[in-house]
Symmetry: C2
Subunit: 334 residues, 2 copies
Amino acid sequence: MVFPQRVKMSDVARTAGVSVATVSKVVNGRYGVAQATVERVQQVIHELGYEASLGAQSLRSHRTNVLGILVAEFEPFSTELLKGASREVAGSGYQLLAYSSGDGEGAAIGWERRSLARLSGTLIDGAVIVTPTVVETNDSFHVVAVDPHTGPSGLPTVDSDNFAGAVLATNYLLSLGHRRIGHISGRADLESARLREAGFRRAMADAGVPVDERLVRVGGFRIESAAGTAAELLALTDRPSAIFAGNDLSAISTMDVARDMGLSVPDDLSVIGFDNVPESALVNPPLTTIMQPIQRMGAEALRLLIDLVAGAERDTHIRLPTELVIRSSCRPRH
Amino acid sequence: MVFPQRVKMSDVARTAGVSVATVSKVVNGRYGVAQATVERVQQVIHELGYEASLGAQSLRSHRTNVLGILVAEFEPFSTELLKGASREVAGSGYQLLAYSSGDGEGAAIGWERRSLARLSGTLIDGAVIVTPTVVETNDSFHVVAVDPHTGPSGLPTVDSDNFAGAVLATNYLLSLGHRRIGHISGRADLESARLREAGFRRAMADAGVPVDERLVRVGGFRIESAAGTAAELLALTDRPSAIFAGNDLSAISTMDVARDMGLSVPDDLSVIGFDNVPESALVNPPLTTIMQPIQRMGAEALRLLIDLVAGAERDTHIRLPTELVIRSSCRPRH
DNA sequence: ATCGGTATCGATAACGTTTTCGAGTCGCTC
DNA sequence: GAGCGACTCGAAAACGTTATCGATACCGAT
């Protein structure tokens, strides 16, 4: 990697004996330059190591070929997404920039917020956002949302079938004989959290099992915030025999809390998660969970964004299937 | 989050009844504008939601207040580093952009590479790089390297005491009675990998234990590439009773391979890693490893970068201490 | 009144691109 | 040999900002 001395278009033009206008044309592959000239200029560009100034480019043409991906923070889910997205962007002619809104469960504020907007508005052509904040946008700037904020935003979206996944999870617990099933839901402003809870309730209702409202609580999607909720749940005198956690992180957290309270997973408590982040296969016991194809979601989101930026008409909503992956954190109720 | 309609400085100027020059002064807090004017302009800026165009700004002033962090790929180590860096950048007046060179064990090529250089050269004020590639830079662009490429680069650097950490790890294994100790080293062009292997050899020599050269092999630092190496090591008729893996990922991979071969960790094989990424506490058995304060390294790197960009004179090399964290993947040799 | 000094402000010239459009050249056709 | 397209090319005007520097206004002191 070399960070070159800045050489500008006029330098190239001078040493190639043409005008900057001509250089610009060959850089952008515009029509109207003689073949011989093209080759000569390209040669000089190569020799001098010329790179266009993003600033000047963006200023003049309002196009940078840079895409952004905005995550709330770098936790396992966004990291997987990032992987998928970076894989997809390779060779697309775009460059991908990741930035974090820099906070977990709050909204960006003040300087941060404005700076984000500034980035977005001025130096990238579009963004995929993985943070549950409401966005307004205009038609010169494209954004696609992954796992979006609750409510109708009208944004292009890619998500997984959270509702069906939750039904899958709940039915699995039910099929194991569990009746007192707890649910730790994610942050309320996340559409996915809402749908998972809805799926949970639907499955329970379909099975004719009443849900004890004391057993469903919001725990957030982070490891620390879920711990408190899990502790409350397990401290109940008639504690649940199984817990459907809103995501893997809170499931892992729940298992930790259970262990600390002297409970064995899965013997005393069955736990099922959601997401299938890499960590879930690593923990002890390996976590049974609902897989959503996170990397693929990242890739699809980026592909969608690219198409949108290029002006293509496309389905504006992509939903990927979920799947039950059985490991060792659940057991039939004795 | 709102991606605003682009309103420019001249708009602000017009509705505030001043010139763009004055608005610019207000925005940048320059001296020489009446208090009343400052307030009026700020008011208008707020109402209109004005955001400076990064492109124009960078073009004119060669300064964007945006910093970059370039990682080879988004694996656990870089992710932790990212967290530390994002935490540090908050409130610093800078914005942090993460980008990936988009590949694991190779160098970026062609379009990618140039695009990286373009980003770096034109729209960020400096970067921390977490990828073992040689860089050349000029004095208008600052870069600090984390876990740098082998050999003297002259770059400002932050790393941990890899050598001492490796000694720590090896001595621990030695103290457990192990004599046939294997080492899976990281990619050869990583200074850290070189130092860890050197530390390993030093500790062995100091203990008067000869190292069997068939037992030290390069496995790369990724999970997949380490697996093959581990398998080779364990297939030896006189296989090692302990393995010091070059990092946690290869340690985890080694444990997987051992399990697949019907070996129990730690009963039949002790494994120690390096890094203490979050995953190492999660796996089964929990991994004994050498901790380096990764998040703190990210934070220090960013702080150093900020100071450098601000023109401060600073120690140009920061080395953080490592520490043995004992979990359950090692056991005395029976 | 005149003057020097301080505030306060605005015209204006960059910064490095892209794009438009007119000018020049050349080879043809009639 | 005049006229006409088709090709090439470059001059110049943007894009939105920052920095310089001169203009103006106002103040108190002579």
